[in-house]
Symmetry: C2
Subunit: 360 residues, 2 copies
């Protein structure tokens, strides 16, 4: 088992990474505070893993909320139903919300924990590769709005992240690939050596080699933890973690959050970010090809819905990265180094969008 600490001003917390964690009562118990627990999971994950986790939390009062699976349920209305369960069971301020699931479950349960009685304790038990390397780490919680992803949310740090790598055994291939997109993102943001390692180890990762997956998760969490420690509230550097996300959000929003997995959209977004970075002269055509090749080998879809550049831009406009009317984007300054910038010609952005979304 590996332990990483996310060091924040007010609330440092551990990320534990290893096989079989949730079956170790002492370990689980030691990282879940409180006696009243709300276990939030979904209809896919709960039947397979909830019982193991509950066994490791014997002696606590545990109420389970099983949500329908899917991004389309990450709404204020679903959060409202979870609040109802907390109130109906008379959970107090000393309650702990435990999220067992992927990004949707973690984001929504975290938002509920942030707001219930103005904040109760929260523990993440991520079950997808994407959640293990990204969404479960860093304290961003949110629900979606029909007008955009994650528009309603809070910063609310977990007390602990329990990353059991064995939970990935039952993860569908498609979800594994979506998680790889976020892992590739870390290499592009700030670690070209890690990107090269991913190029070499991709077959092992796709075959779910435990050692390769564990290293990829650990390195991803290290990078994210370092960036979040520098800028918890996303006033500067943390925005770099959104590489590919503004483009990806347009795909997700245009398709109603139902057809593309978040990680898939981010993968396609990484390619668009690379494409635009190349148009600005920051990276070579060969670099774009290198990004595209790795994403393709990871089995990720790269062609966006043919909605046209104008509509894509519209979907990007409401994105959280918008500042004072000018759309700031995370792009590559050079290969393996991301930068947040509003300094790009609109024509170049339109050309990138037209190349991926079609039309004018």
């Amino acid at each position: 088992m590996q332990t990483l600490t996310v060091k924040l001003q007010d609330s440092s917390y551990p990320i534990l990474i290893g096989p079989g964690l949730i079956q170790q009562p002492q370990l689980v118990s030691g990282h879940v505070p409180g006696t009243d627990l709300l276990l939030v999971s979904n209809t896919t994950v709960a039947p397979v893993y909830a019982a193991q986790l509950v066994r490791s939390l014997a002696g606590r009062r545990i109420v389970e909320v099983i949500l329908p699976d899917g991004e389309q349920h990450k709404t204020l209305a679903t959060a409202g139903r979870v609040f109802d369960v907390l109130v109906a069971n008379r959970f107090g301020r000393d309650a702990t919300v435990v999220a067992l699931g992927g990004g949707v479950v973690g984001d929504l349960a975290g938002f509920v924990a942030a707001c219930y009685q103005r904040g109760v304790a929260f523990v993440q038990v991520p079950t997808t590769l994407l959640a293990q390397v990204d969404s479960a780490v860093g304290g961003k919680t949110a629900v979606n709005h029909p007008g955009g992803k994650n528009l309603i949310g809070a910063f609310h740090q977990p007390r602990a992240v329990l990353t059991d790598t064995e939970l990935l055994a039952t993860l569908p291939d498609r979800e594994l690939r979506a998680g790889l997109a976020e892992i590739i993102k870390y290499g592009l943001i700030c670690d070209e050596a890690f990107f090269s390692w991913l190029e070499q180890q991709l077959p092992a990762l796709l075959h779910r080699d435990p050692a390769a997956l564990a290293h990829a998760i650990l390195r991803s969490c290290q990078i994210k933890a370092e960036i979040v420690a520098r800028d918890e509230r996303e006033r500067a550097d943390r925005a770099l973690l959104n590489l590919g996300h503004s483009f990806g959000h347009a795909i997700e929003a245009a398709t109603g959050y139902t057809q593309w997995l978040h990680g898939e959209a981010v993968g396609a977004g990484l390619l668009m970010a690379a494409d635009l970075s190349h148009r600005l002269g920051n990276i070579a055509a060969a670099d774009v090809a290198r990004v595209e090749a790795l994403l393709r080998r990871a089995g990720l879809p790269l062609a966006g819905p043919q909605i046209g550049a104008a509509r894509a831009l519209e979907y990007m406009g409401i994105d959280k990265k918008a500042r004072a009317g000018r759309l700031h984007l995370v792009l590559l300054k050079r290969f393996g180094q991301a930068v947040l910038t509003g300094d790009y010609p609109n024509d170049a952005l339109r050309a990138t969008l037209a190349a991926h979304f079609g039309g004018a």
Copy 2:
């Protein structure tokens, strides 16, 4: 004009108190950041004061949301409608939410500001006495749940509180009296001299004497600011500000948040807190009589709905002050000094509740 500073670790901010503030463009403009403003008000306040405030913010893009008036609208559903307006108007992270209204408007608008894009700037322009002395100060935001008041919320500090004492000119008498209940609370919590001053100045306050009101507001905000500075997140001392609130919440919840004003319920709650404190031997019967006399002179209702002690206790049980199964209450340690305690006989609590709510 008087200026007070709420000194917090991350975000100190000013409370400006004086007559005619919202008609001074330079002053208003200097304390409202951003160019995109969402002005949240209600159908009672907006027709009278919104135009003045908007004039003082000339040059900004201002979208107005006018909510129906009343505590029953302080819900997650109403917050959802305000989020819709922000999204529909493509407000970004640099938006500022301005609350023009009483506690309901301020609490709800503040909660929306806390959650929109994980937090945007927020300015309070309180228009009721209760909001000016209590709810607009300290960063507590929330909406109600059918199972209890303020169960869904966030700590989100305003950038500034603009307290225009002239706005009280149109306040209904009943609302003025409700605000006086919270002012009386501050005397009971930690300032017996202020309580004595209130006993002397009550006629002036009821006649809306500007100097008397200004002093009462300033002293109340000073006390609240000091306590909040010591304990922003209510881990200790801040709970003292809830004197009378646990009892009051039972009244409000039992009557569906529609019959009693919050301040009225707090007033009746102060008397119950005093009654229980007397049963514990902390204060004399004469002290209880002193509290009751001042509340009565302020014209506040004191008889709770006759729901019986058992149901009242049930309504108190889900209250946020509940910790680990034992209901902690804010009581008086001596006259003019409050304390948070779980150390009271259940029989004494039941006797207090039976005396006020009837039945067994």
